[in-house]
């Protein structure tokens, strides 16, 4: 049995959740402290596979700035954030770029692309 305290960030209320993991044959998660059902989903996801959107910048040539902002086009596993930063930092692109253009396809095999977040 494993217990973890998590603050729910699915809405501004920020409920203090306690997620209990029971391993009796099948995995079972018990969430307490949530004021609504979304908190339960969030709590279980944070325990099993926490994910985040990652935002950063990439080097760019032929533009009025030398960095262009990018983000993952969806959430990636939290554990891959620093690996993903390494991939992002390897890239150097050249303008013009449109907002939404794919900068890295399927980063680290996650199925998620890295896209530009502005035109430059």
């Amino acid at each position: 049995m494993e217990k973890q305290n998590i603050i729910c960030i699915a809405c501004p209320l920020g409920c203090k959740l306690e997620v209990e993991h029971k391993k009796n044959g099948i995995d079972d998660y018990i969430v307490t402290g949530n004021k609504c059902p979304r908190g339960k989903d969030y709590g279980i996801k944070e325990m099993t596979n926490p994910t985040r959107v990652l935002t950063s910048t990439v080097k760019i040539k032929n533009a009025h700035l030398c960095r262009i902002p990018v983000r993952t086009k969806g959430e990636i596993p939290k554990g891959l954030i620093f690996k993903c930063m390494k991939e992002i930092n390897k890239v150097e692109i050249s303008g013009p770029i449109k907002v939404g253009d794919i900068i890295i396809k399927n980063v680290l095999g996650t199925g998620i692309d890295i896209i530009a977040t502005r035109s430059m």
Binding site: P12, G14, S56, C66, R67, P69, V99, T117
Partner: protein, 421 residues
């Protein structure tokens, strides 16, 4: 002298939304003046996500949010000038501006919309003793260096102040390989949103030291160490709790101040608590035909509310130009009662409200489970239950015009009724 119907000062999200909405309401002769090399304002450096949940129903980054409005401005053919600094606005709405290609510009407007945003408090404003070495930045300046110029500001970082910019920069610096030793906050609660504490600090095991402050900075040419100390309930340092952090960079995230030199010189009345102009239901300042919106009016944490408020300013500037705004008349006041720090707008002319009156406010402390009580003079109009209220999160209330028309009252107040835990 050139003439425009509406001149918008500042091309950030506030100025963009106001200009677009003025055009949508039938004014064609509009000019946006921006001192930076591009439109978008502060959003261009806010590369993190979390913008637009209310307006677009999706989570965008700052630049994406800005680009949607910039594109719309282009498509509508609204005129704008970049690299142009407004130097002065006169009470009769003459604007003096300057740029390197045209020199001094002299512009006459029928209506002016102030949308200059805010600036960061600096170290001088909060008086930390110690030497003055390099390596001390406001968090927003560091954000601009890192995100737009690609220039890393330091390796070992301490952040003073837990406002959202400080939290966002704690994560950003960590991702770029710096070690963020701590975020130090004077108050017993954070000045930032909970989601930012979780995503920016907890995710990266960055300690948040509440009720702490920095009492000394050491370093010859570059910051070498800072001394952090715990404070008591009166915010006085507690002796014997000093901790020394070895660092080369100190970021300050100690608050924002609305940028109102232009407004003050024009003679616009400034509210002592918001630091921005006193406005009425139409976002009009104490000078007829001069409107204000966005961070220049009061500091916002969510750009979505900036957009909403600015649309109101733009629409009403258009109504003013078209002579559809009743000037003076019967002026009601808003009053921030117990637990509420301020309310914007401060004045209300009921005749000008279209559909609903929107009140925006901040509370002065963290409350779990309280009621917001809206009163017309002494009579309770409505009680709204709130599970959670915090100074970092702006609250808004709207009151249908039909509930205000034909009622005799002089003051609309909002106060908190706090239940015992």
């Amino acid at each position: 002298m050139v003439n425009y119907d509406v001149v918008v000062i500042g091309g950030g999200p506030a100025g963009l939304a106001a200009a677009i909405e003025a055009k949508n309401n039938g004014v064609n002769n509009i000019l946006v003046i921006e001192r930076d090399r591009e439109l978008g304002g502060i959003l261009q450096q806010c590369i993190h996500n979390g913008f637009g949940l209310h307006i677009f129903n999706e989570e965008l980054t700052g630049p994406e949010y800005a680009e949607r409005f910039i594109e719309e401005l282009y498509e509508m053919g609204i005129e704008y000038k970049l690299d142009t600094m407004v130097l002065e606005v006169s009470p009769n709405k003459t604007i003096y501006a300057m740029n390197t290609t045209e020199g001094i510009l002299n512009i006459q407007a029928k209506a002016v919309i102030l949308a200059m945003g805010c600036r960061e408090r600096t170290r001088g404003a909060i008086n930390i003793p110690g030497t003055r070495p390099a390596g001390i930045f406001t968090a927003g300046t560091a954000q601009r260096f890192v995100n737009m110029e690609g220039y890393m500001v330091g390796k070992k970082v301490v952040i003073l102040g837990s406002g959202d910019i400080g939290l966002i920069m704690a994560r950003r610096m960590t991702l770029e390989g710096a070690e963020v030793k701590a975020v130090v906050e004077l108050m017993p609660y954070s000045g930032g949103l909970t989601r930012n504490i979780v995503q920016c600090l907890d995710d990266y095991n960055i300690p948040l030291l509440l009720s702490h402050t920095i009492i000394d900075i050491k370093g010859k040419s570059r910051v070498e160490e800072v001394t952090v100390v715990k404070v008591d309930e009166n915010r006085n340092p507690i002796e014997g709790t000093e901790k020394i952090f070895d660092c080369d960079t100190l970021l300050l995230s100690v608050g924002l101040i609305p940028e109102n030199e232009l407004s003050e010189n024009a003679g616009v009345e400034i509210h002592p608590l918001t630091g921005g102009p006193v406005v009425n239901e139409s976002m009009e300042t104490s000078i007829e035909g001069i409107f204000a919106c966005g961070n220049v009016l009061h500091v916002h944490d969510l750009v979505d509310w900036v957009t909403e408020e600015s649309r109101r300013a733009g629409k009403n500037a258009a109504r003013y130009v078209k002579n559809q705004l009743a000037s003076n008349g019967n002026i009601k006041k808003t009053y921030a009662g117990y637990g509420v720090r301020y309310i914007v707008p401060q004045q209300v002319r009921v005749a000008n409200i279209e559909e609903k009156l929107h009140l925006m406010m901040r509370v002065n402390d963290v409350y779990n489970s309280a009621k917001m009580v809206i009163k017309l003079d002494d009579e309770v109009y409505k009680r709204i239950k709130k599970n959670h209220l915090a100074p970092a999160e702006m609250e808004s209330i709207s009151i249908p015009a039909k509930d205000l028309i034909n009622r005799s009252f002089t003051t609309i107040s909002v106060e908190l009724e706090v239940e015992e835990a």
